[in-house]
Symmetry: C2
Subunit: 525 residues, 2 copies
Amino acid sequence: MMTPLENERLKYQPRIPAILKNAANLAAKESGRNTVSAELKAAFPHIGSAERVTFVEGAKKQEKPLKVGVFFSGGQAPGGHNVIAGLYDLLMTLSPKSELVGFLGGPSGLVDGKAIVLDEEKIALFRNQGGFHLLGSGRTKIETTEQFEKVRKVIEGMNLDGLVVIGGDDSNTNAAYLAEDFAKREIACTVIGVPKTIDGDLKTEDVEISFGFDTAAKVYSELIGNLGKDLLSAKKMWAFVKLMGRSASHLTLECALNTQPNIALIGEEIEEKKKTLQEIVKEITDVVVQRAKQDKPYGLILIPEGIVEFIPEFKRLIGHLNTLLAEGKGPEQLDEEGKNLFYLLPKVFQEQLTLERDPHGNVQVSKIETERLFMKLVEEEIKRRGEKVSFSPQPFFFGYEARASLPTNFDANYCYGLGMVAALGVSLGMTGRMAALSNLYLPAEQWLPNLAPLVAMMGFEMRKGERKGVITKALVDLDGDMYKHFVNVSSKWKFEDRYLCPGPIQYFGPETVTDILPWMIKVRR
Amino acid sequence: MMTPLENERLKYQPRIPAILKNAANLAAKESGRNTVSAELKAAFPHIGSAERVTFVEGAKKQEKPLKVGVFFSGGQAPGGHNVIAGLYDLLMTLSPKSELVGFLGGPSGLVDGKAIVLDEEKIALFRNQGGFHLLGSGRTKIETTEQFEKVRKVIEGMNLDGLVVIGGDDSNTNAAYLAEDFAKREIACTVIGVPKTIDGDLKTEDVEISFGFDTAAKVYSELIGNLGKDLLSAKKMWAFVKLMGRSASHLTLECALNTQPNIALIGEEIEEKKKTLQEIVKEITDVVVQRAKQDKPYGLILIPEGIVEFIPEFKRLIGHLNTLLAEGKGPEQLDEEGKNLFYLLPKVFQEQLTLERDPHGNVQVSKIETERLFMKLVEEEIKRRGEKVSFSPQPFFFGYEARASLPTNFDANYCYGLGMVAALGVSLGMTGRMAALSNLYLPAEQWLPNLAPLVAMMGFEMRKGERKGVITKALVDLDGDMYKHFVNVSSKWKFEDRYLCPGPIQYFGPETVTDILPWMIKVRR
């Protein structure tokens, strides 16, 4: 059963790049430029030399029907269903006898060959809708020889001309390895990736933003903005808001620019400045105390989910603990620096660090309730200073509630376009590339479709003791325009109350409210 | 600084009841009916006989300019600023020389005479906006003789013809005592209450709903609906969602009908059926286990904030603990039933019950993290049963993030209308009444303005050892249409996945998405 708004959204026609209106006439134009390192080329001999491809109008081709598979990988991001809609629609435009199959439950669906045929009827009710539930998703990694073998069998058994992987950095890394494997074994299946993650850390010069980021940031900003007004009205609560985004602080930065909190911690800055936990706590406490003395015993602070991993001493502590725990030892065996930090932590967090471990026996960093940790430490620091000020903190975590929400117009358009580009990529046999649209600051009609080589996004990292080519996570660029803009404007937020309330995402009405560009795109311009 | 959506909302013209377009010609018409008990009449000799008043067209009166004071009381609710806008606009229509003053920071502003003059310029930027920050709010209770004396001095000093109290049941109880006091002392200041609370527990036959409830429920429903899609996509998480609403489960019921979770706990039902904590935990566990066995190791449960106070044995435990702790004793002195329950609780909750106490030394029920308590107990129950099923719960609490949000069209219209009715009430000298609009299921133009006597909403309760007339909290009516509807439809939700995703509140576009009536009104029809 669909709600009135979901029903209305079914009618939305995504705006598409003008050039894609003549997709059947498009030919690939290689850039003539390849910046991939020799080491990566050696690791990917078959796809490492792939160039960035744009599209030019050519003669109308006689298209043969294509059979294409698609799956979602990893956490949900708003707009995923539109990738499938765009992919399907363009495949049908190119040749109405084409076929699209969707693998169920993420990469494991591909490995096990669990798939359904996606036709108009199946897709119809998912256009412009949230979630990944048309196919489901999962986090299986395709790594072992056995898995690769199974995938090949599925691809060959189904006779797939193309495979579209909708996922984040890990999933697209996987896509590159699949593309390499297929090319090496002369399996004529073109692999195209699609950049998905609300975290925003899958981003290159060609891929300006990952899909879902815009919507997630706007849902969080709605809630943060509401909290700002609440604080201003009641004047007594400090809201400690943790935001999703473990490896990078893009969401926190984007939401900060949307809502103007008193403080926003940016992990990358903390790492760069090598701040200690105590330094951060002291800085927050300074603001809390000074505001309280200005008759403002309230405030708003944004904290990225992954903050502790950006604090060098904390990262070190976690590393040491992992080693000790694996050896059956305890925190009392930590070195002095480690002990100092560990025993500084309130008891409940000491327990979180030592008791809750993942299946590999490692500390579960994502289980550390950072928002509460900072609340507690600030409280203790106020006490330590002997300050008699009112401090009434409240923890918030905004994460899951935005991953499957209805996509904004921006994400609906962007995803639909990405799906179309993926279809073009398959039809032109441009394997080992990621569907991309650039010039996103312009109206959708002027966006530039292109295909970005996956290997060009990679670097080498140690994985399970081996040097492996993986897509590099894009962190907040401290020399970039967006961060610089944040630094410029945010200095006034600490003591003045400049909270902004963006309100809920709008789908109707003036474009000034329905088509607000994300800062990640706006500031880049 | 205002955001694009806030700016667009400034332009919204609230829809008003047709009869209020001729407000200057309206006369009060008493109902001729008074159902107030003799005991209450004795407690309120001057206002206890006030009747419900509707409005009829009469001759145009020569209005004298009025001076009116207004303040917010208690927690924020979306639409508060529109009450002030409607009040101001109608006062100006009745006589442009009228004056509106706003007391700052809630009831304490009235006691201390802290006020600002509210003119068009001051109000302009708050029309249709969220929050209470034009005036701020507070929770001071006006109870002592000294406070009453101060209030009288302020009222007389300012020469106020009227006082409008925007608040919940406690604040409107206060309004009744003020009205009685003024009438007794022949202070010519008309007191009018306005029904505010997102909890929805201020409600009578005349007052169909409190303002802010609709918006808050829709904000929570947006998030819960998003979670539903997330669960369906990832198929691995149980979302334990706690919702604001301590004394009544209206918000949980409203959100349940909006989003169709697997389980929604309704406090009133639990109390009626005298369920124990263990019974509730067993019922939830049954669903969790059965779903897991159906390959659905995920689910969605809504829990009202005040749930533990509805569980008879828990209420008893809290009462006993309060007594024991006051005597310097500990939980080991509880009787057997109390001990059984107390030691059944996970340790962290035992600590929450004994360590965190309010300034009066009482257990802080609102600090108990019920969503986590149920997660933990269900986990233990699964273990106890020896079931080998996957159970991965995640806690959520949706509360503060909706109290100050932009009001829906419904709340914007309703609040503006309530403000107009309050102005009429003052101009007609109808003291001791609450501004009300009935027939809310009809288009706003057909709503019926009226003034409902405050004393008629009261009952007697023990307060600080004394029998005192207070406005009775409206709980979920287990014989009412809305609860019955819920019982009817919700039986299928447990094992089928019927999650609904209402999406964000819309302000533009078709009325089917911008003007969705709350269930509280819709089902009543």
